[in-house]
Symmetry: C2
Subunit: 300 residues, 2 copies
């Protein structure tokens, strides 16, 4: 395992152990989850996100044995992510593998293989000396990518956008790259334009919580801004997508997080008055290439 | 005085008292400055900036009585700002008012009148229900603007971009608006694009540390990104400018701040590897209007 973030959630006996991402990089601690309510609590408090959500959902289904109910509850806790698709996936696989533990283990193993393969595909289309701007956290996939680039003789340096207000870029991405001694520089989100203007970065890589067949994506707040800027600076913007579906992306509810979170570090100085949409929508027009979980690449 | 930030630096006897902006909003404290070295220290540590720098420069000239030497030293401490222009201004006025204390008092009084007048001019061209995105801090000028808007029956709400990493937006602008009970919402810098896309904001107002006659400006890092996004969303982007000069703006040295500052809140977890250009350049093509210190407005 390259980084604890590659597998932020695991199962031990009848408990789920969830890496508390909000404590990183200060401490690597795990929260024990024993039932649906506890799972929803860590989800709402953003103790885990992205691939961690996927794993948490699978394992919670093992605990509850109620796939649809779990999916509905997860969706209420974090509306932007497509837990119904994960529920469908379990049901599909359960036709071949009736034991739910075995089945989830299989799904996760396949996922890992696919993520590594996707990194290899992406490595092929990146520039020789890749100077990669990224946002939020891709759960170890940048580490796979760095390895894949090295295997074909390409170098890389990452410019990690800190991703306010939760600082997933700093706390998770910069941390995992730093731990793995991979060249990385931290930047503030508002520096992206100047780095593009000066050609310090030559590509952008982002994840996506949701995507549709047209190529529109939903990802962490700030992604849209990066995509729009990259487009005008003619810098390729690649996204890792999971399950492109026939959906109107505008109809998906964008999660509004508590405004207190924007004021997090300020204590009780202000009565918080803020806006905090946790995600934004990037229309396909501003994306250069999509790499789905099967490793298929579509470029404009 | 509407806010301590309208006059962040003042003189008492043979001392200069500098509002320690880095302590805001937690405490309103003043640092005593008695000579050039102490002035340079508060300047380098960004205890004051923007209009505070102007005041600090004037008062330090009173202490040192050496205008050119002071200008050179200030310029070394913070290279992006045009202290030489301020030195020229003192020399011009000193022909009419030989007493340096009287002269500086006159310059500052004239400045205040001009800033208020500029706010009135700007109020005239803003929309009726102004929904204003802003960055960094304009030293009380948004408070003048809010008053000026109210006088002609216009309402306003401010969306304050927090301005990482020093958070001047949060700590100074949001604070001064909050203190004055002016409607304001805090946002993270990476939310600007979605607010523009959704038409939550209908104009952007920024300051400028430097500007040239062509209309290019240098301002706090993140300004360029806002301007570029505003341009593509057809949202007017207005800048307050001081002394447009015949300069090639690209030749001005952009101050690189210590990379530790990007990691400020993270303690000693990482060996800091960051980039921190404190300013960026916004070409005139992305600016809708310039309002100079005489109140003259130029719009495209």
């Amino acid at each position: 395992m390259l980084s604890p973030l590659c597998y932020p959630v695991r199962m031990e006996g009848n408990s789920i152990l969830v890496l508390d991402e909000t404590k990183l990089p200060f401490a690597e601690t795990y929260i024990e989850v024993k039932n649906l309510e506890e799972a929803l609590k860590v989800l709402r408090e953003m103790k885990t996100r992205a691939f961690g959500q996927v794993l948490l959902f699978f394992y919670t289904c093992i605990l509850t044995r109620e796939i649809d109910k779990t999916a509905r509850a997860f969706k209420r806790a974090r509306p932007t992510f497509d837990f119904f698709r994960l529920a469908e996936m379990i049901k599909e696989v359960s036709q071949q593998i009736p034991n739910i533990k075995e089945m989830v283990k299989t799904i996760i193993t396949v996922f890992e293989q696919k993520r590594k393969k996707r990194a290899q595909k992406l490595a092929q289309i990146l520039p020789h000396e890749a100077s990669i701007l990224t946002i939020c956290n891709l759960n170890g996939e940048l580490l796979y990518l760095y390895e894949a680039l090295a295997q074909i003789g390409k170098t890389a340096v990452f410019y990690v956008s800190e991703t306010r207000p939760y600082l997933q870029g700093t706390r998770l991405t910069f941390w995992e790259l730093d731990q793995a001694s991979i060249p990385a520089k931290l930047i503030c989100d508002n520096q992206a334009a100047i780095l593009m203007q000066q050609r310090v970065v030559n590509c952008v890589i982002a994840g996506s919580d949701r995507s549709n067949k047209k190529g529109d994506i939903i990802n962490k707040i700030g992604t849209y801004s990066l995509a729009r800027l990259a487009y005008y600076f003619h810098i390729p913007f690649y996204v890792l997508v999971q399950y492109p579906k026939e959906i109107e992306i505008e109809t998906i509810q964008i999660e509004e997080r508590p405004q207190e979170e924007v004021f997090m570090w300020l204590g009780e100085v202000f009565h918080p008055t803020a806006i905090y949409p946790a995600f934004d929508i990037t229309p396909s027009a501003f994306i250069s290439g999509w790499i789905d979980i099967s490793g298929k690449i579509r470029c404009v």
